[in-house]
């Protein structure tokens, strides 16, 4: 029998809250974190809205509970804050009988510091401490050292599905008996590097993003960190942790179509959802809610919509994109939205797709656009798709 995967800890920081409770409150109140850029020193301030974590570098140190010091990127601090919350939530501590791993995910790593000090890197020794921040592993190792995790660590980067793949790998390592407990997720700080990169592709909306709307016009970028704790049954016997939910299905597929565009029929999205559904052993009508990738670009939402239509047909579950709340947190989006999906299970609510007005004509169906309360939510699916067609779907269910 393959081992089951239970979720016992959640930790999250994003533009809508410094922790799980604040995130939940913002979602309930329909409070978006997207607004004018105030923390990132970019020339695009005032031109593009974004979902920034409402904290300076100094404030992030204080939220992380560590003394202010050199060598920490914004990305690392966001990761530590979220990982710390999940770690404490699941009352993690070293136990030689529970083999524990840390799997993190990021795409541009500590680029916020690299772009700030790049001239120095080229000409002098003033900021050598940040050179290693270029590497994705830097934030993972700082999280590992902070939480004293060393038995298994690695870092995944599959663009905007990175942290969903971190959760997927954690689940596979537990299922196959290689680990008993995994802290998995990811972090990404807003940087000039990727805001200008996305801007060069002309896929950032100058207004608030409107996923799945006829008049959608692109992405609002965000930032954050989100980690979840996965445990095997054997681990639960030792920790006695209350189970939040179970991860029962996952699927990873590749579009193999284009480096930045989604295929017109959404083949990657279709395959990742289908794989996850098959693995869960559930029927289509047993999925109560889908937290869609729904970036707000012309291309993604149509492609994802086509895939939803093809897989679910007339049995399309309620779905929404919560990116109008948090902004697109890129590498952190997979674990951020996994947690938002799990909050839907815990509180029996379905989150609204903010800013939605009229459906995409080619699809003819609409996301949930206002908060639904007291709805039976037993099983949820979370979609995360990335540049390069790296598509991943996760299915969580109440136990």
């Amino acid at each position: 029998m393959p081992r089951r995967i239970f979720i016992t800890g959640l930790g999250i920081i994003s533009s809508i809250g410094y922790n799980l409770q604040e995130t939940f409150e913002s979602l309930m109140l329909g409070r978006s974190g997207i607004g004018e850029i105030t923390y990132l020193p970019t020339a695009l301030r005032g031109e593009l809205p974004a979902g920034e974590v409402k904290a300076t570098h100094q404030q992030l140190f204080s939220l992380a509970g560590i003394p202010e010091q050199e060598g920490y990127s914004r990305n690392t601090l966001l990761g530590i804050i979220a990982a710390n919350e999940a770690f404490n939530h699941a009352r993690m501590s070293y136990n030689s009988s529970i083999k524990t791993g840390l799997i993190s995910a990021t795409t541009v790593g500590g680029m916020d510091k690299c772009e700030l000090f790049y001239e120095d890197f080229l000409t002098n020794d003033n900021h050598n401490i940040y050179i290693a921040a270029y590497e994705c592993a830097d934030s993972t190792e700082k999280i590992a050292d902070h939480l004293n995790l060393s038995e298994y660590i690695t870092t995944i980067s599959t663009a905007c599905s990175s942290s969903a793949n971190a959760i997927l790998l954690g689940a596979r390592l537990i299922r196959n008996g290689l680990l008993d407990r995994v802290l998995a997720g990811g972090c990404e700080a807003l940087t000039k590097f990727h805001i200008n990169g996305f801007s060069s592709l002309k896929i950032l909306d100058k207004e608030l993003c409107k996923p799945f709307d006829e008049k959608r016009n692109g992405i609002n970028l965000g930032e954050g960190g989100a980690f979840i704790v996965l445990e095997s049954e054997d681990s639960l016997k030792v920790t006695n942790n209350p189970v939040i939910c179970e991860l029962i299905g996952w699927g990873n597929a590749c579009e193999a179509f284009h480096q930045t565009a989604s295929s017109p029929d959404g083949i990657g999205a279709f395959l990742s959802m289908e794989k996850a559904l098959t693995m869960s052993g559930l029927r289509k009508n047993q999925i109560d809610y889908i937290n869609a990738h729904g970036t707000g670009t012309d291309n993604n939402d149509l492609s994802e919509g086509k895939a939803l239509e093809r897989l679910f047909g007339k049995e399309l579950p309620r779905f929404s994109s919560t990116k109008p709340f948090t902004g697109h947190t890129t590498s952190a989006a997979g674990s951020t939205e996994a947690i938002i999906s799990i909050l839907s299970l815990i509180h029996q609510v379905i989150w609204p797709n903010l800013n939605f007005r009229s459906p995409i004509p080619e699809l003819g169906f609409s996301p949930v656009s206002s908060l639904l309360r007291n709805i039976p939510v037993t099983t949820v699916m979370s979609n995360s798709f990335g540049f390069g067609g790296n598509d991943t779907s996760l299915i969580f269910t109440k136990v």
Binding site: A137, S150, T155, N196, G197, A253, C254, A256, G389
Partner: protein, 351 residues
């Protein structure tokens, strides 16, 4: 475990031809060891190739060679390990945005994400299967191997393409020299051990391996497993973990015939390799490779190519012997590597 059925390796040596093994050694005195570039247009559509960065070309070509070597037309999964990803494209963007934002050329951004290699290979083969990328310093390739073996064990895949790829640029070399990682002056690669100075000789490479649940006609060796160890406390700790790792495959330390060690000529860190091999594997043949490949985060892909060929051909070339011991048989090879004493890894390859 998996059968290594095909290999494609682009490296600072002439390694891309599967029919030759460590002939015509490339000797050079250089700041870093640059790959011998194949004639890309003979492997790739020239129109497409013109827009690709060098790293992506290296990745796709080595992937194609490994598949054709194995006689496989389509892998079921593609997994890449890369410590640094697309350094050249990232530098282009950093160079631009630190001067002026906004007018960025989109192509380097598109190519700069770490998963570009895996996804470009998928696009090349139209492979919709599992696809992932590991980016954890010198664990990158080993994490990829662990994932590949898990894919085969799960039964979702029969043929998995797994690779380790990193590039070096003069710019990145100069930046990371500030961290004391590299030799400060050009070095003659075959005289690397004579330098006795701090820093390694940097290198680069792209090695892709088609690993399968069934043995192919041109099978090289068996890839048993990989292990990563983060911040081990002592050599004794490494010793215990080596024994535990080998025991998974029913082996004891004495069953290991050759240790391929990551000795890099760095006077700060080579002593750790010596301490390890003399404590854990006294009297065993020790091999090395970084005078041929240079040091980079996924250099163990070069070592895996070497181990697979040594087993298949039953040869132990003089150029890769570190001590003067010769094995009585070539059956079990253990690759041991570390980065700055922090990230340690093992790969076990068997006949």
């Amino acid at each position: 475990m998996a059968f290594i059925n095909g290999i494609g390796l682009i490296s600072p040596q002439n390694t891309l031809d599967p029919d030759s093994f460590l002939q015509n050694i490339v000797e050079q005195t250089a700041d870093y060891l640059k790959c011998v570039d194949p004639l890309y247009k003979s492997f790739l559509d020239p129109l497409l190739a013109r827009r690709m960065s060098r790293l992506i070309k290296m990745g796709i070509v080595s992937a194609k060679v490994s598949l054709s070597d194995a006689g496989c037309s389509m892998p079921d999964a593609i997994i890449t390990g890369t410590g640094l990803g697309s350094v050249e494209d990232t530098e282009k963007i950093l160079g631009e945005i630190t001067k002026d934002e906004r007018f960025l050329n989109p192509t380097p951004f598109i190519q700069s994400t770490y998963n570009t290699i895996s996804s470009q290979i998928a696009i090349n083969f139209k492979c919709h299967g599992y696809n992932s990328t590991y980016v954890h310093r010198s664990f990158s390739f080993e994490s990829g191997i662990q994932d590949a073996l898990l894919q085969l064990k799960e039964g979702f895949s029969k043929n998995v393409l797994v690779g380790g790829i990193d590039e070096m640029t003069l710019n990145h070399l100069q930046i990371t020299r500030r961290l004391g990682l590299w030799k400060m002056n050009p070095v003659h690669n075959l005289s690397l051990l004579k330098t006795k100075t701090p820093g390694a000789l940097a290198g680069e490479g792209s090695g892709f391996f088609l690993v399968s649940s069934l043995k192919g006609n041109r099978c090289y060796a068996i890839l048993s497993g990989a292990l990563t160890i983060y911040r081990p406390k002592t050599i004794d700790d490494l010793d215990d973990k080596t024994s535990a790792f080998l025991s998974i495959y029913g082996l004891q330390k004495n069953d290991v015939d050759i240790i391929i060690s990551g000795i890099s000529g760095d006077s700060n860190w080579d002593s750790l390799y010596h301490d390890y091999t003399s404590k854990v594997f006294p009297g065993k043949p020790v091999s090395w490779f970084k005078h041929l490949s240079g040091e980079y985060y996924t250099a163990t892909a070069f070592a895996l190519w070497m181990a697979a060929n040594m087993i298949k051909r039953q040869v132990y070339p003089e150029i890769v012997r570190y001590n003067d011991l010769y094995p009585s048989r070539i059956k079990n090879i253990l690759i041991y590597n570390h980065f700055k004493g922090i990230n340690h890894s093992f790969i076990l390859v068997r006949h």
